[in-house]
Symmetry: C3
Subunit: 161 residues, 3 copies
């Protein structure tokens, strides 16, 4: 069944961003590494909707960022996270299952649809990894602010083989 | 010692809400599953104070939700989380220990008693599971907003046998 | 190689705060334990910049707390977390690697430099544990408020032997 995830990406018309070697855009935010593997668990650092080196739709939901823009940012965050998994594992087929994601939506105090944004991230993971491997446990919170004025961030654990 | 947790629930006059099969109220908030088990760790999705299908005391602490209401919401969240553990494990006696909980309190910027709310959740877990199994590590943060205007959410990991 | 971390602390002129027995300053915030160990993973409860029993630079970044003050608070939080690891493990040499930290910065809505604060925490861990053991995956969020008006909190997982 090797490369079926790659085939699914191709069928979806999606191309993962490239995370070469140990590179990680998050390193621009300070002292951290992109991932840590212990036993059968891959812990990813927070992924954000950076695209071509810039935040996609920076700002806060319920203020300057619309829900469709937040959804687009969340979908792209999933792509970055998938690239991070590939960087960590070499081959996405080593993914057994997303364990869980903790999701942060930068938003106004009265914005209570944070789940609509994180669902877009989760849907993209399911699209690419399939429901058996892409569906994880989840929580989502609306936060004050994120580094670099990103509107979304996802913190993901993955069970691997 | 089988069913001593059930006996403790009975002695406390508490009845767990029922989570049948793979059902999970959180699914109303989008693409996720209620839990993931890997090795000896049960990861629960975020639990919230939903009761009979509605948020208990929605809103924000320090604004429209009082501390006693937040405490009641947190206690009920513990009941939902216990029901989620039972759903995942079949039998609560498989719980070795709560590992930790990350707790979110929707609140006003000047509300700094977030720990009073999450302690009510932790106390209820200790009441039901006993101190050896119910007491976990913990962190609590005051957040901008939660899905569905819930005032509290808890994200729990459990060591299991 | 026993006590090389202790030697590094000495060379840096740093003295860890003492966490005796099961004591944990976090217990003042309610029902919790300072840590939980399962398998090769040490889960610490949230650590905050408490020093001599008081919050160091309480308040919110972007309001009453400056970035240099936030950095000082984050560095001290790392010292408390290291003391917590020593309490849990007996000997810091049992640390294989920081797995990851989730960091919370209490801040104003328009404060987007949360990573500058958490990096100070991460830098201190690397200073003391060395890059191979001190560098973890990471995410940082700006939050509404923390217990006791602390300006920073870190929630850390450590791989141990």
């Amino acid at each position: 069944m090797n490369d079926s995830i790659e085939a699914r990406l191709h069928a979806l018309g999606l191309t993962l961003p490239v995370s070469e070697g140990e590179s990680y855009y998050g390193a621009a935010y300070g002292t951290m590494k992109p991932f840590h593997i212990t036993g059968s668990v891959l812990h990813l650092s927070g992924h954000v909707p950076v695209r071509n080196g810039r935040p996609l739709h920076p700002g806060r939901l319920g203020e300057t960022v619309t829900v469709p823009q937040g959804i687009e940012a969340a979908e792209w965050t999933a792509m970055n996270a998938l690239a991070g998994m590939k960087q960590a594992l070499g081959d996405l087929e080593r993914v057994v299952s997303v364990i869980k994601s903790l999701n942060f939506v930068a938003c106004a105090p009265d914005f209570s649809d944070v789940h609509l944004v994180s669902t877009a991230m989760a849907d993209r993971l399911v699209d690419v990894l399939g429901p058996a491997r892409g569906l994880g446990a989840r929580a989502t919170i609306g936060v004050q602010s994120l580094a670099g004025s990103h509107c979304f961030e996802s913190w993901i654990e993955v069970e691997i083989r």
